[in-house]
């Protein structure tokens, strides 16, 4: 009896492997699949890491300086000596600022008050105005932050050498990403998105393709267990997402110089859990819809958009309205991205990601139960 079970298990394993091989054939013989699987992750990483860079270098600025004293001149110099800012223009009056913005010549204008140094020296109070083009609020806020950081550190210097008697300098310190390198922020996000794309979208599309072409029906009539059919679909994408994970980590670390400060073991563990969650999402989608197009649209709109907008990949979750934050709580990528930030960039350990890891494990269990149930119902 036991021997028969063993033989049966071996047989099942053989079917299963034959199926996995077949899935690899499907993927390797389809140029579009190959392109999506191997080129897109790298493209996305480069796109988000470099092209859509929120880091601002070589920003051109103009100065209106009616005071023209020692301090204002050296402040402008301070701005120029690092590679964030280039002095493009000296304005003769404040109203020229608008023209400079409109022509697109500059992205920031610094306006000093009259008698700047005198006021600073005697009243301990002088005004600087930083004007930025708010039509691109992201860039505007970043360059004004840079500029005020530079200016306040100069004020600090002045205070130390006793030139000005009294000054309160707001201290701005950026934790974990002191130079505000954008790649740090985007790498975890891109990882969350690529893995979701490959696992959920590709799996659901490949299952619905079999439904569309009628091969699924033939498989369901066959003695092959439906569970094996579904699992064999997921296996190749599991391996390919591991390849992608490795590629992203290598490029991020060695080319974009993103640190892997925390535990690599937990980084890989939580990635595996996340990949599993994404695969079950793909299975769930394929049990709901019958066409490849529908699977594609659901993955793109139902999964990708929320991940881009609400997972904290692009916009901080803390700034979102409460109800959007509720939605973001049920997006697996949100927890994954947060955990990856903690592990890679902050260099925290297992204890810091217990919450994220357990939420992802829970999501995976719930999703696999639902999708297996749903798949069975479809056979009735």
């Amino acid at each position: 009896m036991e021997k028969m079970n063993l033989q049966k298990a071996a047989e099942n394993w053989k079917f299963f492997m034959a199926f996995v091989r077949k899935e690899f054939h499907h993927i390797f013989r389809d140029k579009t699949s190959m392109l999506i699987l191997l080129v897109m992750p790298i493209l996305m990483l480069v796109l988000f890491g470099y092209a859509l860079n929120t880091e601002v270098k070589n920003s051109k600025f103009a100065v209106y300086d009616p005071s023209k004293d020692e301090v204002t001149r050296s402040m402008v110099e301070k701005l120029q000596i690092n590679n964030y800012f280039i002095l493009k223009k000296v304005l003769n009056n404040a109203s020229e600022a608008e023209t400079a913005f409109k022509k697109g010549e500059v992205s920031m204008v610094i306006v000093f008050s009259d008698h700047f140094y005198e006021n600073l020296l005697h009243g301990g109070y002088a005004q600087i105005q930083l004007l930025a083009d708010g039509s691109d609020p992201n860039t505007a806020s970043i360059i004004t932050t840079y500029a005020s950081t530079i200016l306040s550190s100069y004020q600090l210097e002045l205070m130390k050498i006793g030139k000005i008697p009294y000054q309160i300098t707001p201290e701005v310190k950026l934790l974990y990403n002191p130079s505000m390198v954008a790649a740090y922020n985007f790498v975890p996000g891109v990882m969350g998105m690529i893995l979701l794309l490959i696992c959920a979208m590709m799996t659901s599309v490949s299952i619905t393709r079999e439904k569309e072409r009628g091969t699924m029906e033939v498989l369901l009539v066959s003695p092959m267990k439906p569970l094996y059919v579904i699992l064999s679909k997921a296996v190749p994408y599991f391996f390919l997402s591991l390849v992608n994970l490795a590629t992203i980590l290598l490029i991020a670390h060695f080319i974009m110089h993103v640190p892997i400060a925390g535990s690599l073991f937990w980084l890989l563990t939580i990635s595996l859990v996340y990949i599993f969650v994404c695969l079950t999402l793909g299975l769930l989608i394929s049990t709901i819809v019958d066409t490849q197009m529908a699977a594609l649209i659901i993955s793109a709109i139902g999964l990708m958009m929320p991940v881009m907008l609400m997972s904290g990949m692009m916009f901080p979750i803390e700034n979102m309205p409460v109800y959007i934050r509720w939605i973001s709580d049920i997006i697996p990528a949100r927890w994954y991205i947060e955990a990856i930030r903690k592990l890679m960039i902050m260099g925290l350990g297992f204890k810091a990601i217990i919450q994220e890891l357990s939420i992802l494990v829970g999501m995976g269990i719930i999703l696999i139960v639902i999708s297996l149930r749903k798949f069975k119902i479809r056979l009735e």
């Binding site: 079917f15 034959a18 077949k22 054939h25 013989r29 072409r213 009628g214 033939v218 009539v221």
Partner: protein, 255 residues
């Protein structure tokens, strides 16, 4: 009698349906049908679109559960012993169902594997099959580059590769020219000669003439069941087309 024993059916009966019914809410798709199919027979399952023939066939194959009534396929209960049935039947769906991006031999291998054909038999049997079909040179060709008629022949041969006792064919010759259809039917005869029972749905009435017996479904019921010759006599018709139209005229559901 234990659950897994086949029921005692007359030796030559491979399908037996007793009041087999499928309802979807108020709609009765298949309405208490009774019939039997004998071993080695070519059984034509006819009906207009929507008459319930696909639903009935899906129940027999284990793709769909019956609402009431019983049926046995190859001696096993369709509601409780689907696993046993699945090993003993072949199935060719309406849609062409081989993998277009796999080579001819890869498709054969895959399906042979699924149906548990022993590893060592697959190779020689594949070569023999390709020889019989005259496809020797197409062994390593992607299926998508074959003409439709060839694909259908291949699809049928794959469906009976594991020597099932019954093969279910769901409108197998859709969209093929009459000459290719005749070639296809030659394959069906060859299979029937080997003792494989053929259960085939079709809406080509010339094909109905090739069957040993045909049943005609109207509104979920089987309204006629006999050999084509007897049916033509009973309805005073020149051909099966006329028989079919006389019966279908009374249908409430139109396809």
């Amino acid at each position: 009698m234990s659950k897994h024993d086949p029921i005692l059916m007359p030796d030559d009966t491979v399908i037996l349906a007793r009041d087999l019914t499928k309802t979807y809410g108020d709609f009765t798709a298949v309405d208490h049908i009774n019939f039997e199919v004998h071993k080695g027979e070519i059984f034509g399952f006819l009906g207009a679109n929507g008459a319930g023939k696909t639903t009935a066939m899906r129940m027999l194959c284990g793709l769909s559960k019956s609402s009431s009534g019983q049926a046995w396929v190859a001696g096993y209960d369709i509601n409780r012993q689907t696993e046993q049935i699945k090993k003993r039947i072949g199935y060719m769906s309406q849609k062409f169902a081989l993998y277009e991006d796999l080579e001819v031999w890869e498709n054969i291998r895959l399906y042979a594997g699924i149906y548990g054909v022993p590893e060592r038999e697959i190779g020689p049997k594949t070569d023999e099959l390709l020889h019989r079909l005259g496809f020797e040179n197409e062994k390593k060709v992607l299926v998508k580059s074959l003409p439709l008629g060839w694909k259908q022949k291949l699809s049928f041969s794959v469906a009976i590769f594991h020597e099932p006792s019954i093969v279910f064919l769901d409108e197998p010759t859709g969209g093929v020219d009459p000459a290719t259809r005749r070639q296809f039917w030659e394959l069906i005869y060859q299979a029937a000669d080997r003792g494989i029972t053929i259960f085939v749905t079709t809406h080509y009435m010339d094909e109905a003439e090739y069957c040993d017996r045909v049943s005609i479904m109207v509104d979920g019921r089987i309204d006629a069941l006999d050999s084509p010759g007897n049916l033509k006599k009973a309805y005073g018709a020149k051909n099966m087309d006329e028989v079919f139209h006389q019966l279908a005229r009374g249908a409430r559901r139109k396809g």
